[in-house]
């Protein structure tokens, strides 16, 4: 393990429950943390099997990586800050998702630990389309060839439709 890797931790969230997650792949030896979000779950009803499904996901990735993995229940920014502190981490790695909760948690963590560098990895994409979106049909016309054949069209237009 290099010195740089020793100072990293990974945040594993509900959209990244796999050893192939980009942030986990970038830091295979770093300690990783998944948090069941207590303040969120106190106000948003979630049936138990959904939470058990996620636990099984964390358990599976923990068994398939070299670095240590932890799972906690609490407020996510607080737990991440404490976890990074306990491991003397200078960097926290995470894979982006587009939910408002992700942005809220990252902001909370930045406020709690302004010294901690947050490295956000981009999630895997099926297509390379980056234009504005409105209806699926128009999107499909732009990405059809790429999705069906696994490669972008040679003249792929990187602009929106409509």
């Amino acid at each position: 393990m290099t010195a740089a890797q020793a100072r990293r931790v990974v945040w594993v969230h509900g959209d990244s429950l796999s050893v192939t997650d980009p942030a986990l792949s970038a830091c295979p030896d770093a300690p990783a943390l998944f948090v069941f979000d207590r303040p969120f779950l106190q106000v948003v009803p979630v049936a138990f099997p959904r939470l058990a499904f996620m636990y099984q996901g964390v358990r599976d990735l923990a068994a398939h990586r070299t670095g240590p993995t932890e799972i906690r229940v609490g407020a996510v920014p607080d737990e991440l800050a404490a976890f990074a502190g306990a491991h003397h981490a200078a960097e926290l790695h995470v894979t982006r998702n587009f939910t408002p909760d992700f942005a809220r948690i990252v902001e909370g963590l930045r406020a709690a630990r302004p010294d901690l560098r947050i490295v956000i990895h981009e999630p895997e994409r099926l297509t390379s389309f980056d234009g504005p979106l409105r209806r699926f049909f128009g999107f499909w016309k732009k990405v059809e060839r790429e999705v069906l054949h696994g490669e972008p069209a040679p003249d792929f237009p990187r602009r929106g439709h409509r």
Binding site: D21, D60, L126, R135
Partner: protein, 260 residues
């Protein structure tokens, strides 16, 4: 603030409901029990490799061969690219193209969420008919006591399996929003509570597609459609006063006040 709780990560499944249930006390609904399908990449890969796509052309039938991989995709246990690569390798013809097109909806909805952010939780557009929706999920719907065998079965399947066939999702959504006059967000919340694949993007935007706040017209069905695609599962023995038994034109007038 309560002290943080650390959980062991080596709980076998037979201890999982009890130990996780105690650790998460007060943070979930229903009884602590295992999900109908096991979570994790290993289970997801096994499901992916076992799925050949044979008969996917009949995917709109409740008995059709659909992949049931959505819960693994939703949590990142499987990636869209590897599922697409598997489909390209093992599927053939129109079934393959159709599966890849359906997979692309997941990417589309993720990108709409990226574009719109929290706005996806409100109407992205005005509904395409004069809608007056109530906010609350009716108790008889939540309790699967509507008296309609099909509608009650949709809720029962949702709660029991954490998964519904796409056609059942559409029928239930149309029933709730158009026939019962309930705001799509109440249905979104029920799905989010139970669906193993429930996420903001697919869930909110699919409800908005049915409600016509993210589509050009509302989605609805009639009894003939339910009967056909369910293989007569409920209709053959049903004695209820069926609210879906009419032509599309008649229902359109009744529900939306317009004729095509």
């Amino acid at each position: 603030m309560t002290d943080p709780v650390r959980l062991p990560l080596d709980l076998p499944d037979d201890q999982l409901p009890r130990v996780l249930g105690e650790a998460l006390a007060g943070l979930y609904t229903g009884e602590p029990r295992l999900p109908a399908r096991a979570g994790g990449r290993t289970a997801g890969l096994a499901a992916l490799h076992a799925w050949t796509g044979e008969g996917y052309a009949g995917r709109n039938f409740l008995g059709g061969n659909v992949s049931r991989l959505s819960m693994y995709l939703r949590h990142g246990m499987l990636g869209l690219r590897e599922v697409a690569a598997h489909a390209r390798a093992v599927m053939r013809g129109r079934g393959r193209d159709e599966f890849l097109r359906q997979l692309t909806w997941a990417e589309f909805y993720r990108l709409v969420l990226r574009q719109e952010g929290a706005r996806v939780l409100g109407n992205l557009e005005d509904p395409k008919y004069p809608a007056r929706w109530t906010d609350t999920l009716p108790d008889d719907v939540r309790g699967a006591r509507t008296g309609l065998p099909c509608a009650d079965a949709w809720v029962t399947h949702l709660v029991r399996d954490g998964w519904l066939h796409n056609h059942e999702r559409l029928w239930f959504a149309a029933y709730l929003v158009h026939w019962r006059g309930v705001d799509w967000r109440a249905g979104y919340a029920l799905f989010r509570e139970h669906l193993l694949d429930g996420d903001i993007a697919n869930n909110a935007l699919s409800w908005q597609w049915v409600a016509s706040t993210f589509s050009n017209k509302p989605y609805f069905m009639n009894q003939e459609n339910i009967d056909r695609y369910s293989g007569g599962r409920w209709c053959r023995t049903c004695r209820a006063a069926c609210p879906f038994r009419a032509s599309y034109g008649e229902l359109e007038t009744q529900l939306f006040g317009t004729q095509p």
